[in-house]
Amino acid sequence: MELMLKNKWIIFLFIAPALLIYTVVLFIPVLETIVTSFYEWNMFSVDKKFIGLNNFIMLFTRDSVFITSIKNTFLLMLMSVITQMPVAIILASILSTGVFGKKIFKTFYFVPNILSGAAIGLMWYFMYNSEFGLVNSFLKLIGLGSITRPWLGDENTVLWAIILVACWQFVGYHMILFLSAIEGIPDSVNESAIIDGAGRWRILWSITIPLIKPIIYVDAIMISTNSLKIFDLVYTLTAGQGGPNHASSVMALHMFTHAFRNYRFGYSSSSACVLLISCLIVTLLVNKIFKSESYT
């Protein structure tokens, strides 16, 4: 068997298609972007000006929007991990225990992820409206009328309003992933645990979670990189502006704005590089946390 699994030709055959498409279409353009970040280039003209690290220096010293964006992006990532992962795992484990109406619940939880960005943006715009938005109406209903405000129009609350929508949109996504993993655990394992007198939480904590560790690792990477790269949601909820006074701007939005609105491609490439490096750092961190078992 060993010999067969080491067969170089077969290995090559299996990886070749993916490797080719990925390298040409994704990897090389990214290298181009990295190179561009050292130039001043408005993307139309043939001539670019090499300016070394100037873009990066500008980013960190003269661009307050960028600093805000970095802060916001990491905050968003942190909140996403803290809220979405545990909720997703718990939901998935509850649903896998044969709850009545399981299929309906599963579908409902996943619906936010199926809706297109345009629909989500429009709907939540109305939800957060200061006059007749449901959020404020609900708050007034439970007696918290004093804290109502235009959530998307106030620079202190706009980021949190967006974080809420992000969590709402993606919990279902992670839940599906965990559900797939949990469903793969043989019944016999759970049965013997119950026989041994373990309660639901004990089973979840000591048995289920360790068994699906590979998927938790995958999901941790997905959640952190996806939330670091978040763009569509912020764009539609803030009309492409990043919130009043750029209060909820994120790195991907900053990059987009400078590339496709200000037409400063070199500068936006350097913004993209910082985003790439952030993702890299976070991925390495996650790898370190899961170090005990090798997953890469």
């Binding site: 129009g153 009043p244 496709f260």
Partner: protein, 450 residues
């Protein structure tokens, strides 16, 4: 097979059949030619030997009504009547993402043959690519065409003495007000700022939103701001800034900031306006919930649109003046719009120019005026008989125009322009004008020329 699976399969089959039918009816591609049949915005005529296909790219969004439709009609007309053996393929792009799309196009070596562009600062970056054809070469030879235009029309599309785009229409911002509401409360249209404050007070007492404004995208509110600054300081401060020798810390801006905050404290704008979307704000006016709106002439299209409740109830006035201000009522804020540029790689430059020329015929100008309330760019009098009264009134008010300045974010280019818009949004949010303009000046210094 259980019930649920059955439903799913039936629905899928129905959808599949429906799309296949529509798909097949729609598909009628000719080999070696990307043009299809009469799909939206696409035109093809079967002509004599191999017509040359040229791409026309515009940010019209839908072509079934308004600006987009008028544009499409012109394309169709040209395709049917031209002698160049050229077929124009119209590519209408969503307005919002047009900036993205045209950037991608211009980054390649064969951008669209003809394409829409803004004027001034934004056009400047396109010109910097070296891919735009200097149209003055044709205009200078075709003096008949050039003389059709009002004086000064080419000012903001000329760089280094060369003209790079041809404007098809102008729009101008004004104060629109609901006549019915004004009459109901015995109000006169405001001529001065004091008048305006009074109108605001009365409207508030009667639960009418004084000035409709959805400022989530801050260019909306910036229009009113730019007028305020102009009425206080006249044309000079902004002209200086555009030329690179002025500053945003000029007195007129600081004072203007104070006025804007005064307006906010008088509840001139809807509640939560800084987070209200642009359509939402406009709807307040077209539903008769607001007394006034300060907006570009394109809102005429919405006022006469099918969902409007205020058709024929609206009138226009020039923006009020400030006491002791240097600006007068006959200075207008607007821009030359629907500018079309030709790319150097265009397959038939003469044909392209001929097409653009059709925009300045009396009929075309009238069509644009009717569909969008825009102001003609031509000297010759456009027959306004069938136009809606607002367009006619606007045209009439413009007769006494003494000068015009362009929307800041177009004049200054997007980087600085949108930062200006943000500054005004911050001022509306009660930040100190002095601080905000100082920050803006610093931003300008850091980013000018990039």
């Amino acid at each position: 097979m259980n019930f649920k699976k059955l439903i799913v399969i039936m629905t899928t089959l129905t959808l599949l059949v429906a799309t296949l039918i529509t798909g097949c009816i729609g598909v009628n591609t000719q080999p070696g030619n990307d043009a299809g049949t009469q799909a939206m915005g696409e035109v093809e005529t079967t002509k004599a030997p191999d017509p040359v296909n040229m791409r026309v790219m515009v940010g019209t969004g839908t072509t079934s009504e308004g600006w987009g439709k008028t544009f499409k009609d012109l394309v169709d007309q040209f395709n049917a009547n031209n002698n160049f053996n050229v077929t124009l393929n119209l590519e209408p792009i969503d307005t919002e993402q047009y900036a993205t799309k045209i950037a991608a196009e211009l980054a390649t070596n064969n951008p669209p043959d003809i394409f829409y562009t803004w004027a001034a600062g934004r056009l400047k970056s396109f010109v910097g690519s070296g891919k735009l054809y200097p149209i003055n070469e044709i205009l200078d030879k075709d003096t008949e065409w050039k003389s059709r235009f009002l004086p000064g029309m080419f000012d903001s599309v000329t760089f280094d003495g060369k003209i790079y785009a041809v404007p098809g229409e102008q729009n101008a911002a004004a104060l629109f007000y609901n006549v019915e509401i004004f009459q109901q409360y015995g109000l006169q249209p405001p001529q001065t700022y004091e008048d305006l404050k009074n109108v605001i007070k009365v409207l508030n007492e009667n639960d009418i939103v004084p000035i409709a404004m959805g400022n989530q995208d801050p260019w909306v509110g910036a229009i009113l701001c730019e007028y305020v600054f102009n009425r206080i300081g006249g044309n000079e401060p902004f002209d200086n800034i555009v030329e690179g020798k002025g500053t945003f810390e000029d007195e007129s801006y600081i004072e203007g900031g104070r006025i804007l905050q005064e307006l906010v404290s008088l509840n001139a704008f809807p509640k939560g306006f800084n987070g209200m979307s642009y359509p939402d704000g406009n709807n307040l006016f077209t539903r008769g919930k607001a007394g006034m709106v300060c907006m570009g002439s394109w809102i005429v299209g919405e006022i006469y649109g099918k969902d409007s409740l205020v058709k024929d109830k609206v009138d226009i006035i020039k923006f009020p003046t400030m006491e002791k201000g240097k600006g007068n009522a006959d200075t207008w804020l607007g821009q030359p719009d629907l500018c079309l540029a030709i790319s150097k790689s265009c397959k038939n430059i003469d044909a392209a120019a001929a097409f653009i020329k059709t925009f300045t015929t009396a009929e075309a100008q009238k069509a644009f005026a009717e569909s969008t309330g825009s102001i003609p760019v031509t000297v010759a009098d456009v027959d306004m008989t069938n136009c809606n009264p607002l367009t006619a009134k606007l045209r009439q008010l413009q007769q006494s125009r003494s000068s015009m300045f362009i929307f800041y974010d177009v004049a200054l280019g997007n980087t600085i322009g949108s930062e200006f818009n943000n500054t005004t949004q911050n001022i509306f949010a009660d930040k100190s004008p002095a601080d905000e303009f100082r920050k803006l000046s610093q931003f300008v210094a850091d980013n000018l020329g990039k």
